[in-house]
């Protein structure tokens, strides 16, 4: 993975929610660049549009205006089929409320992205390999002994681990985490964040995490702060200061609007 190459680029994103003819603008011309292999924290007050941004980037929703590029491919206006494909194999999601399917065991939940992707026949041929991989992933997140437990038999932390394993099942290029610790106590939340950080460090998995808890942000992370539907020009340094007071390097200089490496890509795609 090339850390110098922008994996995901969002330009001039606009999104508003409408209800009864009242328009509530959420994103108002947001620009963002995500680099391969980085751990990006999107922070901001409630209602600042963090989750909406995540949904737009993860093709769960479409912007009213603006462009999203994945490796130079425009994905905001991709066909539904392509977007389904992206969500299935390129992106992984973890949510605040875990969102595991209650009727299925942890193992089946982890297998689900593969089940969605493959046909009955295809699954039949690869079932050993796939199950093996799902078991390995569950062991990796520390749930090796809870393979056949249903979500309601798992604790919150365990459910979130299972959902991380599920997100990793299809070897995604980007992992979207929407308040992954929002429903957990501090200790469990810390464990989850550590797990994500390990994945980022050891496997170079690009992670975009939305949170409002600044305690979770590590010095090595890049932090993007949303205010009123836009990225603040530069995050206040004190927000990302580690507890021991060391200074941190910030990877922010590559602003998409001025970055010469991005613009040719954009021009081509547009």
């Amino acid at each position: 993975m090339n850390a110098d190459f922008p994996l995901l680029v969002a330009r001039e994103l606009h999104k508003a929610y409408r209800k009864h003819k009242i328009e509530v603008p959420v994103l108002t011309g947001l620009d963002l660049t995500v680099w391969a292999g980085e751990f990006l924290c999107v922070v901001g007050a409630s209602g600042s549009g963090k989750s909406t941004l995540l949904h737009l980037l993860g093709t769960l929703d479409q912007p009213d205006r603006g462009t999203i590029l994945l490796d130079g491919e425009r994905i905001d206006q991709a066909t539904p089929r392509r977007r389904d494909q992206l969500r299935n194999s390129t992106f992984g999601f973890i949510f605040q409320f875990y969102h595991l399917l209650p009727e299925f065991t942890a193992l089946e939940n982890v297998l689900m992205p593969q089940l969605i992707r493959t046909s009955l026949w295809g699954y039949f041929w690869q079932r050993r390999k796939l199950r093996q991989r799902a078991i390995e992933l569950l062991e990796r997140v520390g749930l090796g002994d809870r393979l056949h437990h249903r979500p309601r038999e798992l604790s919150g932390g365990e459910m979130q681990r299972a959902s991380i394993a599920r997100a990793l099942m299809s070897e995604p290029r980007i992992l979207f985490a929407d308040e992954p610790t929002g429903n957990l106590d501090e200790l469990k939340g810390r464990e989850i964040i550590d797990l994500l950080r390990d994945l980022n460090r050891q496997q170079g998995l690009t992670i975009i995490m939305v949170t409002h808890n600044m305690d979770l942000v590590a010095p090595s992370d890049r932090v993007v702060r949303l205010t009123k539907g836009k990225v603040e020009a530069a995050p206040p340094l004190q927000m990302v200061l580690p507890p021991d007071g060391e200074t941190v390097s910030n990877k922010q200089p590559h602003h998409p609007l001025i970055d010469p490496r991005i613009d040719p890509l954009l021009r081509k795609a547009l």
Partner: protein
């Protein structure tokens, strides 16, 4: 792959879905039972109707009949097309009449259909000999020995024995008057009487059952009055009951009286005229062609009809009745369909988040649609299979079930004497069962389309946020 897994898992874990299955099951089972029983009745009725009526009938336009039946039959036999297809023929003479008899001193009179036949040829045509009560193997108008004696005894006891009046003592040399020549004793012809004419049902004292009361014994005299000649003048003759006709079709059993053809012709002064020729075919499927051929052969002088033409209105009525009943019963399944619609809508609401999750994991709208359509299909299939099993089981054991129910509620559900059936007739037609199943499954799928569409079109983000 995930679609099948989800359908199956939802089927196993959603107990609400059992309600759908049960409603489909009940609908299918009811349809199968009602269809089979109605089919059974209708088949039995057709069999009986056909059993009594020959395949093809050549009929005169009125009661005076047509002449030379033997020659007509000879003509038919000489036609190679007809000869190869016809198995047996029997001339018959049919007329309305009045039957009178005494029962314990009370005169009883009944309107009847009087049919003159030759027992041998009529038996060959079928639908006659097998319905006789006493002489099934060799139908005859001869009275049995016992019946004849009984008849003689009855007639003697009613007539005063001849006793010469005590006259003056004979003068010497006077010869006694010669004995009058013995008059030839009148021997009544035999008559085969419908079973319901000769027997009647009476309620028992406690009103719960009924028992049979025999009005006419073999050997009893009956007086039959009918019409004769062009002027339709009443004529009557005395017959003796020699057998009973029991077809288990109450209309026939309470109306038909068979007497010897030649005697009836003589009584009605008809010479050799008959009103119809009953024809039995080797293969019933030929009846249309045979009718056509006979019509060209005889023209308009006689009516030629198949048994189905003759019973057309009754058969049509049965089939219309069955059709309407089916339509009404199918509404049951339609009601089950609305149940599926309601329950599915609930399940979709309940599963909104799961649908969001699936979409976040890359499931397409079509995939989600398939899940819920497949779910409907599965519910329909399971319901239909269970319903078929239940329906067939009930149909097969309907008599046992009826007996148990009757015993439990102390009420006779199926009064056997109404139809003369000792068992409830059933007839399971595989095609009908398949059609019912297909219809039930189709309705289940059809009514799950709307909820499935709703699920498919859910916005993933809104679904995920659904509380």
């Amino acid at each position: 792959m995930y679609k099948l897994l989800l359908c199956w898992r939802y089927l196993r874990t959603r107990y609400l879905a059992l309600v759908c299955i049960v409603s489909v099951m009940l609908g299918v089972a009811t349809l199968i039972v009602v269809n089979s029983v109605m089919g059974g009745f209708s088949t039995k009725l057709r069999q009986r109707l056909h059993g009594l009526l020959s395949d093809v009938v050549i009929e005169a336009h009125d009661y005076s009949g047509f002449s030379h039946p033997e020659q007509r039959m000879k003509l038919i036999r000489s036609d190679p097309f007809l000869a190869s297809r016809i198995e047996a023929m029997a001339p018959t003479l049919e007329i309305f009449a009045m039957l009178q008899f005494d029962y314990q001193g009370y005169p009883i009179a009944r309107p009847i259909r009087l049919i003159g036949i030759d027992p041998e040829s009529r038996s060959q045509v079928g639908g006659f000999a097998e319905h006789l009560v006493l002489n099934r193997d060799k139908p005859t108008f001869q009275l049995s020995e016992q019946a004849r004696k009984y008849n003689e005894w009855r007639n003697q006891s009613q007539r005063l024995p001849f006793q010469p009046e005590p006259g003056l003592p004979l003068a010497p040399g006077e010869k006694p008057l010669p004995e009058p020549p013995p008059s030839e004793e009148f021997k009544p012809e035999g008559a085969i009487v419908g079973y319901a004419i000769a027997n009647t049902r009476r309620k028992t004292a406690d009103d719960n059952g009924s028992h049979e009361l025999r009005l006419l014994q073999p050997g009893d005299d009956v007086l039959i009055t009918t019409l004769s000649g062009q002027k339709l003048q009443p004529v009557y003759a005395r017959f003796a009951v020699c057998d009973y006709f029991r077809s288990e079709m109450s209309e026939y059993d309470s109306n038909y009286v068979f007497v010897p053809l030649d005697y009836l012709q003589q009584l009605r002064t008809m010479e050799d005229r008959v009103t119809s020729i009953q024809i039995r075919l080797r293969n019933e499927a030929d009846s249309k062609a045979v009718v056509e051929r006979l019509r060209t052969l005889f023209g308009d002088s006689v009516k030629v009809e198949t048994w189905m033409d003759k019973q057309g209105p009754l058969l049509a009525a049965i089939s219309i009745e069955k059709g309407i009943l089916n339509l009404l019963l199918f509404m049951i399944i339609a009601v089950a369909g609305f149940g599926i619609l309601a329950i599915f809508s609930m399940i979709v609401v309940e599963k909104t988040r799961d649908i969001g999750i699936l979409k976040a994991l890359g499931a397409s709208n079509l995939g989600v649609l398939h899940i819920f359509l497949g779910y409907g299909l599965l519910l329909g299939l399971v319901g239909a299979i269970l319903g078929t099993a239940a329906g067939v089981a009930i149909t097969v054991y309907i008599n046992e079930i009826e007996r148990t129910l009757s015993a439990l509620c102390g009420l006779e559900i199926f009064p056997r004497d109404v139809y003369y059936f000792d068992r409830i007739p059933t007839d399971i037609v595989t095609l009908h069962v398949l059609l019912i199943n297909a219809g039930a499954v189709a309705i289940a799928v059809l009514f799950s389309v709307l909820p499935a569409l709703r699920a498919a079109l859910l916005h993933p983000v809104r679904a995920l946020r659904f509380e």
